[in-house]
Symmetry: C3
Subunit: 471 residues, 3 copies
């Protein structure tokens, strides 16, 4: 660890329980995992940052523009996404930085605010209590200086962060050249994994669907056409990913329906989709079929399958018209797994060699659906709390709502799912503290011995992600 | 504060955390807000109580009959609403009082019970531990004496309560004479605000709809007819309310749908509704359109818009047949905001001068929908926990489920929403204690400095409601 | 209590709050109820175990095979239900025991694990910290010896457990001979109650429906036929149950719909159902009608009615094909009560002599629907947390989500709902600790005096189940 300031963000007891007896237990549990390497089996970094290893251009492009958690808060305060450089918009980075610093108070109590403080404290060695409108320019200059240093280049940070495994999320037609280059580069010790993410090829309700699918079939369909060629191409590209090191495929579906279609019906819907004539209901039926088909493919090729449903993408029509997709206004909605997943699980859920990780953004499903499913089906793992619910209290709730039914063995391990590179250590450290906090309570309530808790926390942090993601 | 008894209800640490270290922090935070004036931007008192300033007739009419929280509990124990004077039914007030006191044990652990204790302790200076069937007559007599005193008349209590702002909820055709009278009366220092509540003019499924709408158009439609006259009349009455001091309109819709209709379709549904021929689905479609239209009007006239959906009104057919509407059997149901609000928010949610406060009675929406919406849209504020979920533990949950995503800046400020005048100080004090409790935990967990927490709590209690309700 | 080991499972403070001040209060509250007799008004034991009073054959058949909570965990780890003797499958009991012991780590943090530890500690006097693959054979042998002792036969354990009331769940055509025998046996002091559970006669979507109903009408229909004979037969069998000591009927419906049908429509659906031609929707409509009709019958015969909706039975098609029904893969789904129960409650909910206990497995309904319904309707009681949500943290949540609205008086009392005989003391003890924990917090927060809390906990544990189940 670098030199630290004496801010509250450096307090070694942060996030641990206030009760002194329980806190002592938590401290001991945390000590056994705090310095373990980081395993990040699902995330959204651009792998070329490690091939080029260019210095980060400025504080704004490193810390603000790519972090939609952080930008949404400023949007809610009335700032424009364009002022923050979101979605590829040009902005004055210093001006964006000033906006951020002047509105620092908005982040009090948020997970994002906590992570930023941790980054300042533990990555940059700057006291986060200094963040304010008044200090914006000074901080910008100081950080700019830091970013010029060789030990703040992407690769040096990966080493500093103790980043053992790092997954990216990739288009099925991506050539994965950076992954291959990094794998062959003995000087880079982080294991980089591509992840097969075929959403752009399964969602007929997206305008780019037809062009994507046509290209996919043409490039990888082995000369076959239609639905048959489509499936073949997906199979081939999965294989390509596996050869480049992938261990999982990821699926950001609208809902959790997995009803399969017979080949004729799938062909009929695909035809409509390619002509842009599918209704939203038809598009969802096709997507559900494909979720089923990807599970089917996984029976053969062994890729771990992760599911991320339940988010209304591009919620604001006016913002979409102005800034395009993925600019901060994705909103969760009510999710249903028990009925939706039944076809897939009835067919493949009893296969213990198939690893199927279910994520949710609707925490009402924790005790009602996720834990009972993960607590019965050998294939099912409860995904770590994700996105809006990866904040500290919500992570605690995940434990409280699932563990009584499933124990600790059906957990995916933590995923950071981030585009914000420097937040990775803070996110993983938060997760370790939350686990220590929860386990310490079980020990304090005599539900677990401390010896057993000490074994469990190491398993959760280190062994679970390796096991579940087949690393 | 008046003379206090030594009951547990007077304990200065009530509702604060049990952990000694955290409690000390909470005490200090509470001290900075406990004596701030009360700002009540949404409630249901009758403003004429302040123009006439008559003494309250007896303990039952002050404390029991108007308080549906309190009466429901007695109904669940088998008493008839008519025995308690609910819904305008005549009852023997002393007999109702005896019923209440004899069943005091039922209130243990409830928010209502806590408020009643606080009222006894801090408003009437009577030890709440004395409440029992045995003491019912004595307490009735003591309270009756108290109510004759000049310092227990409505205006004197307003001063005693430190009531700076008090909103009522009013029919669009109300002449608001009491509000005007009070505004012009320099001796009354509470700022009284009317609130524009047009529900009775938008719900075709209510029997009085046609008569209401016809009167509205005739009185305020500027001679226009049909849907055009209807919209014009609503616009005019909003203006009338604004001139009388209103800053917000309130909408108790069935669900959160906001799909707009074109003028022809709206006219067609309005015609059916006026003839009593609209189906429930058509009535809801019209209501959804009107929610959208009120937001549209707010873009012009600047009224804050508050939404209170998700309650099944008059759930018991047998009770409705016996006692009529609004007699205690309104039951919440599952709510959905992400899809429902999308039309309204796509059109107006990015306007930072439009303040749109979303209340929920379904707390499953806190982390899934309310916090993400309030954490992105500049227009959206998360409404304080309401009705069944304004009890103490539920208020704590609101903080825990929303703050990690939205921070503190997107909060409406506390609203008491009450018909029970003497419970107002207890409700606001409870809210202040809950905020102190939550913030103290963040400080104890080193997620916030105590200095910052001290600023935040003042902002939450004092500045938020002023800012959000444009006071 | 038998001799205890010194494992953490014997700690007298287990499950009590960690904060020392609150824990002291909780200890005192617990002391007043820990040794009260067990009242178990809903469960699934086979009553013949008490008429034959045979020794339990081996540890596996006593502790593993009948406990679907325990077997699901092993299934999730990839073991076959057949290896564990589930669903009547033959298994090598020692081999099953080895599987269980070797996988003991999977139970850390689960309710099931906690109960097993308590059974070892307090029923068998064996230190649960010894459970491991290494010790499996030793433990099997030791337990086998224990099970041969006369004081470990079913009746002796009933006395040891202080089992005052024990209900079973029975088929309407059951002759209830064991119940009658036990009632007439002065040497057996536990009061055995049959429970009328007519699910097998109301679910058209089950293959055995037609045969069941035809037999029912023939046997008990008083010579009437069709829907009329069907209703008459059910009325007659309820009477038969009442004469054998039943005080309640139990209903495991798919959802909470209670819309009644007129006699013609009911007859039409019944005819289709008997021919196996009813759609799933028609079957649900018939089931909803029957839920209404059972409530109607209860107005006459006074049986308490308990409702257990919201579980998708036999979720895995492949497991169902392999092992048949009820083999561990029942999964909860989203539940709705406010609309569904309205017909039943509008007709019968205001009858305070009708006791209607609503259970839920979807805890999102606690504050939104269950508490508001139980806090208004004189007939409605909030059922204790059930199945997946009867684990420790979930039981705490039940209190936190319902008590603020309903207080303590609208609670069903704890039910163990179990097939695992030796877990009964642990389950009831857990419930007593959870109540002490919750009440201690209210006292520590000055929301309740300790004297009042001490009265409440006795009422919850002892008086509530007697009152609600009319014992």
């Amino acid at each position: 660890m670098r030199i630290m300031s004496t801010s509250h963000a450096a307090n070694p007891d942060r996030l641990l329980p206030a009760d002194p007896g329980t806190r002592d237990i938590a401290r001991r549990l945390l000590a056994s995992v705090e310095d373990l390497p980081i395993i990040s089996p699902h995330g959204h970094l651009d792998p070329t940052m490690f091939t080029t290893n260019d210095p980060f251009p400025n504080p704004t492009q490193l810390l603000i523009s790519p972090d939609h958690y952080l930008c949404r808060v400023l949007r809610s305060a009335g700032y424009e996404m364009s002022q923050l450089g979101v979605g590829g918009h040009e902005c004055d980075p210093r001006e964006a930085w000033r906006i951020f610093c002047s509105n620092w108070g908005l982040y009090a109590g948020t997970a994002t605010g906590y992570w930023v403080e941790q980054e300042f404290e533990h990555v940059f060695g700057i006291n986060p209590d200094r963040i304010s409108g008044k200090n914006a320019d000074d901080l910008y200059d100081e950080l700019s200086e830091v970013l010029k240093r060789p030990d703040f280049r992407p690769r040096a940070l990966a080493e500093e962060f103790n980043l053992e495994v790092l997954a990216t999320t990739d288009d099925p037609l991506d050539d994965l050249a950076p992954h291959k280059e990094l794998r062959d580069d003995a000087s880079f010790t982080t294991r980089m994994l591509p992840t097969f993410r075929p959403d752009a090829y399964t969602k007929m309700y997206k305008p780019e669907f037809a062009a994507n699918v046509e290209k996919l079939i043409a490039v990888a369909g082995d000369g076959k056409t239609g639905y048959e060629g489509y499936l073949q191409a997906l199979r081939n590209r999965r294989q390509y990913f596996i050869e480049a090191g992938a261990t999982s495929s990821d699926h950001g579906t609208h809902n959790a329906d997995t009803t399969p279609l017979d080949a004729d019906e799938a062909q009929r819907l695909l035809d409509k989709g390619l002509k842009g004539e599918a209704t939203f209901e038809e598009a969802l039926a096709f997507e559900a079929n494909m979720t089923y088909r990807f599970a089917e493919m996984a029976q053969d090729d062994g890729l771990v399958m992760t599911l991320h449903p339940g988010v209304y993408r591009n919620h604001s029509e006016s913002a979409f018209a102005k800034y395009g997709a993925d600019t901060g206004h994705d909103i969760p909605f009510k999710m249903e797994y028990t009925n939706g997943l039944r076809p897939l699980l009835s067919a493949f859920g009893e296969n213990k060699d198939f690893n199927f990780v279910i994520f949710t953004i609707d925490e009402t499903t924790y005790s009602r659906e996720i834990a009972p499913l993960a607590g019965y089906y050998p294939a099912v793992y409860a995904g770590a709390p994700w996105w809006f619910i990866d904040e500290i209290d919500a992570m605690n709730r995940f434990r409280q709502y699932t563990t009584g039914t499933t124990g600790f063995s059906r957990y995916s391990g933590f995923i950071d799912d981030t585009r914000a590179y420097c937040s990775i250590p803070a996110r993983h450290n938060t997760s370790r503290r939350v686990e220590a906090n929860y386990l310490a309570r079980l020990v304090a309530e005599h539900r677990l011995t401390e010896d057993r808790a000490a074994e469990i926390i190491v398993d959760l942090i280190d062994a679970s992600p390796r096991r579940v993601f087949k690393l």
